[in-house]
Amino acid sequence: MFEDLGQQLINGLHVGSIYALIALGYTMVYGIIKLINFAHGDILMIGAFLAYFLVRAGVPIPLVIIISTVLCALIGVAIERFAYKPLRSAPRISALITAIAVSLFIENLFMILFKPDPRPFPTVLKLKAISIGSLKINGITILTIVLSAILMILLEFFINKTKTGKAMRAVSQDKQAALLMGININRTISATFAIGSALGAVGGILFSMSYPIIEPYMGMMPGLKAFVAAVLGGIGIIPGAMLGGVMMGVAESLTKSYISSQLSDAVVFGILILVLLIKPAGILGKNTREKV
């Protein structure tokens, strides 16, 4: 009983750290331009597809990860530049609809280019499993959790210590004041999109290593769940995204094993609705009052 529970918690932590990685992209973008970047889930898919083709071409795996994250970062910046930047002063609903449209565009472009059939993602890493007592932990699981933890610590460091990171925090607090202080807003927003998309791409690669099937719509569900994770933890707050991601992963894996594997998506959204009703700003969020 307890061993099973432990196994499920580890599974949850595994998926949860992937959600957390993806959620970071949502939360950073939302923090800075107040936009739910619906296309973020598709960045994940692009990352997985790029990795798939690179692996098939025989590129060594560390290089695969680097190339596909860099390309995804560039794609993220390009999306912002062409689709979101012209709408920066438009009503927020217009920007949101554009984000949905961009997501639709990417998905269907990939459908046409690569056909809707799912493709098996090749096994690239043969990692040994570790046994602790009767618990067996997969190599991929360890890699995922460790890699996500390292990336998140690096991100925290980046946001708090570097100049660009400080600029990001300044822009997210007050764009006009940041501009007066001589911060290049466009460059800062581009950097945010680049980092968010790169993390999303890593998330996508880790995701397709754990569930080794890729197809053009694969980004939709993890993207949605990662977004839910970001909202759950308090959108715009980086530790919140991590907390939310892990919570989502654990909740999902516990539902799958103890309630019903079919209903796990319904439970996940149910949790979101409940949390938002009790604490509309998310778990770590502060309630802000509307200014008149």
């Binding site: 739910i36 689709a83 012209p86 709408l87 438009a90 009503p91 927020r92 609903i93 217009s94 920007a95 949101l96 609809i97 554009t98 949905i100 449209a101 961009v102 639709l104 565009f105 998905e107 269907n108 472009l109 459908m111 046409i112 939709m220 949605l224 977004f227 839910v228 909202v231 019903s260 079919q262 209903l263 998506d265 319904a266 959204f269 149910g270 979101l272 609705i273 938002l276 009703l277 509309p280 509307e290 008149v292």
Partner: protein, 327 residues
């Protein structure tokens, strides 16, 4: 007042003439069964677009789960009509009203807590709600699960759908042009200011939300009785997005805009039959271009009307004469 009655008369006349033209064309075989199907789907899509426009366009709150309300209406209406024996028209009317009411109850239940949240969060909650509905329907026995619900009587025909569509448009039009509708629009323009001048914002938000869900349920009921088979996969997130595209393209806050774009977007896939893979890609490009160049949609908040058009002609003709005279 007389003037207004005259305008209503003109509009009603046009609606009636259009009905008889289409009805005659269908009965004489000028429009075949396949094209009649497209006209019926256009009618259902018009109801969906116009009802979604209530929340997204007039209330200004993004809803991403309209397909969920439609699914509730469709399944409720189908189950209701499978368990009753009435003359066919009555059976359709009663069952779609039951479907609409149940959808409205869900709209009320989800709207009451969700509308405390603002903007983006509401979109996400409704999105989650729509997905939940679909997952639950897929896992229930009474709805036929993933296999789908079969054996629904074929009761929707051109006449039914046409008049239900007209009735929906009239009710929503009258609501928006009433004192209540102006309150709803005031909330869209500035919620805090609306509240400050005494508009009961929570009431109007929930009421509009429930009304929008009601008509989505009605559309679902018509859809169920036209398809005769319901598949939960139909009511996914993508379908909600398709409805949103209709509203956004036509103009958020324009009923006639929603009607025109619902018709256009129903015909488009049929015209692009050879390029069916590209349909959603074209949707996406249409949306992006509309948002970049005309964020308020093609019609904006303007309404198209016949007598305005006639009046406009006369006035511009008059204007030309005057301009000519001053030379």
């Amino acid at each position: 007042m007389n003037q207004k009655l005259k305008h209503y008369g003109i509009n009603f006349g046009i609606i009636l003439i259009l009905y008889f033209i289409l009805f005659g064309a269908i009965n004489s075989g000028v429009i075949n069964g396949y094209h009649e199907g497209i006209i019926i789907m256009a009618g259902i899509n018009i109801i969906l677009a116009v009802s979604l426009n209530l929340t997204t366009g007039f209330l200004g709150e993004l809803t991403l789960g309209h397909a969920g309300f439609m699914a509730i209406g469709a399944y409720t209406a189908a189950l209701a009509s499978m368990n009753m024996e009435l003359p066919s028209v009555m059976q359709l009317i009663v069952s779609i009203i039951i479907g609409g009411l149940v959808a409205a109850i869900f709209g009320f239940l989800i709207g009451m807590p969700a509308l405390r949240l603002r903007g983006d969060y509401l979109g996400i909650i409704t999105l989650g709600f729509g997905e939940m509905i679909r997952v639950i329907i897929t896992n229930l026995e009474i709805t036929g699960g993933a296999v789908g619900l079969k054996g629904i009587a074929l009761l929707s025909d051109f006449t039914n759908v046409y008049w239900v569509t007209i009735l929906t448009i009239v009710i929503i039009f009258m609501f928006i042009n009433s004192r209540h509708g102006r309150s709803v629009i005031a909330i869209r323009e500035n919620e805090i200011a609306a509240e400050a001048v005494g508009v009961p914002t929570a009431f109007y938000k929930i009421f509009t939300f429930a009304m929008s869900a009601f008509f989505a349920g009605i559309a679902g009921g018509l859809f169920a009785h036209y398809q005769t088979v319901l598949d939960p996969k139909k009511f996914d997130f993508m379908f909600s997005i398709e409805m949103l595209v209709m509203v956004v393209l036509g103009g958020m806050g324009s009923i006639t805009g929603a009607i025109v774009s619902a018709i256009f977007l129903t015909l488009l896939p049929e015209l692009l039959r050879d390029f069916s893979d590209y349909r959603l890609l074209i949707y996406a490009i249409l949306l992006i271009i509309t948002m970049l160049f005309k964020p308020s949609g093609l019609f904006g908040t303007k309404e198209f009307s016949i007598h305005q058009l006639i009046k406009g002609r006369k006035q511009s003709a008059k204007g030309k004469i005057e301009a000519g005279g001053s030379e």
